[in-house]
């Protein structure tokens, strides 16, 4: 009997360690997301100061938007190659092919996620960087975890514990402290097109929030490394076969010149490659964290990107952020730590499975949301 009790205790201890390790990995991936995402704003903004983008006058709204579309597309292609390298090293290229071909039932979710993440979030973020600035772009999408968590809760019943909800509220409050003053005209007053930057900021928040929840559905049955590769493959196709050809054909926007101008300017390509390397692995870490700690938590910890973005921007521009940015960032960090302190076992099972009795219930909820 004593031997049995000892074995049971050892098993319980090993199980706890196992869950704790999974949770730690999930949060670690989410933290990497934050670091690399924060770093992305430096090359992403620097790109606007290189040819051909620096040549576009500030008041040429449509050309600047077309330029944003072109840079987002070239960025996506570069990300694709970084992911190809990643999956080649991991030996997952064959699985990428096997997942891509199942479009009707699986990879279509990645296609939808790519629409949320690419033409909405990344495009919106480049808009915010181009029309207002990197600090605003970085802070404007701080709300995205809430959108992701709410969709994940409604759609596939992902649990949001009381502690996670408190953490999210603190993060949102932190975001409001940062965002608030800009809404009262302290930022962008001298730029007549600043509203496009604000729109871009909102697009990025909604885009990234919904992307996590949509991609999560496909990731239930597929590999996250492969999933992110599928998602960028579809983004390339959307821009390259649909959006940019339509713009080039039906408008007089200089799409072709912008593409040629970008790929033939070494410095522009250097910034794109740097931005893409950050984004490729930030996204990989993002998707991996979803699988282990859930969309809501992954996105909330990923939200620390704002802290890293401000640190990187301050380091490269030697300009210190405003005092209210610091207050907001302290709150954001605090909120993330509240979420991190959740017990390992509660993170191990993310879904309220008892609420879902059959596929119809789930599908109907999904249809309702989409």
């Amino acid at each position: 009997m004593a031997h049995y009790t000892t074995s049971e205790a050892t098993l319980a201890q090993t199980l706890h360690k196992h869950y704790a390790r999974n949770q730690r990995w999930g949060f670690m991936w989410a933290l990497w997301t934050a670091i690399l995402w924060g770093a992305w704003y430096v090359p992403g903004t620097a790109l606007w100061f290189e040819h051909p983008y620096v040549d576009i006058p500030v008041d040429h709204q449509s050309t600047r938007l077309a330029a944003t579309a072109v840079m987002t597309w070239i960025h996506a292609i570069t990300v694709f190659f970084f992911l190809l390298l990643w999956n080649t090293v991991l030996g997952k290229v064959k699985d990428y092919g096997r997942t891509m071909v199942r479009f009707r039932k699986i990879s279509k979710w990645y296609a939808l996620a790519s629409l949320c993440g690419g033409p909405m979030a990344i495009f919106g973020s480049y808009m915010a960087m181009g029309f207002i600035g990197p600090v605003f772009a970085a802070i404007s999408s701080l709300f995205y975890p809430v959108i992701g968590a709410v969709i994940a809760r409604l759609w596939y019943k992902e649990k949001i514990s009381k502690r996670a909800a408190i953490g999210m509220c603190i993060i949102i409050f932190g975001g409001m402290v940062i965002y608030g003053p800009s809404l009262f005209g302290e930022m962008g007053a001298s730029n007549p097109n600043a509203w496009l930057g604000y729109v871009g900021g909102i697009m990025s928040a909604i885009g990234w929030g919904s992307e996590g929840a949509v991609a999560g559905r496909a990731m239930d049955v597929s590999d996250p490394d492969v999933g992110i590769h599928c998602r960028f493959s579809f983004e390339i196709l959307f821009w390259g076969l649909l959006i940019l050809p339509v713009l080039a054909t039906f408008t007089d926007l200089p799409i072709k010149d912008l593409i040629i101008g970008t790929v033939t300017h070494g410095k522009a390509m250097l910034w794109i490659v740097l931005a893409a390397s950050c984004h490729a692995y930030c996204y990989t870490a993002f998707y991996k964290s979803f699988s282990l700690i859930g969309v809501g938590r992954g996105e909330a910890i990923g939200n620390l990107y704002a802290v890293f973005a401000l640190i990187f921007i301050a380091a490269f521009t030697l300009q210190l952020p405003q005092w209210y940015f610091i207050v907001g960032l302290v709150l954001t960090v605090l909120g993330s730590f509240v979420m991190f302190s959740e017990s390992a076992e509660s993170v191990a099972q993310l879904r309220d499975n008892g609420d879902i009795n059959n596929g119809d219930t789930n599908s109907n909820t999904a249809k309702g949301l989409l």
Partner: protein, 94 residues
């Protein structure tokens, strides 16, 4: 074309009531003609992810003495939610 590996793990579980992770790993090794520690770890992570997502449930666990270190093994079963998601994603006929 073969199923992607996570899909194969789910389909294999759906055909059997309960399976130990070691049994699942052996079947996957045979199906994809792969082997080695790295592939085994990758598959265990995939099973952790499927379990965290609630598609499969751990119905039993045991410690197995393996050289110096005790190895934690899990016995898995497909959950109702996993079955529903498999039907949604075309891995199982409704």
């Amino acid at each position: 074309m073969k199923l992607h590996q996570k899909g194969f793990l789910l389909v294999t579980l759906s055909k059997n009531n309960r399976l130990w992770d070691d049994e699942l790993i052996v079947q996957t090794f045979i199906e994809y003609n792969i082997s080695g520690d790295y592939c085994e770890k990758t598959l265990r992570i995939a099973l952790d992810e499927l379990s965290a997502a609630g598609l499969i449930t751990r119905v039993e666990e045991k410690l197995e003495a393996n050289n110096k270190q005790a190895k934690l093994l899990f016995r898995y079963q497909l959950s109702d939610f996993g079955r529903a998601r498999m039907i949604d994603t075309g891995l199982l006929n409704g």
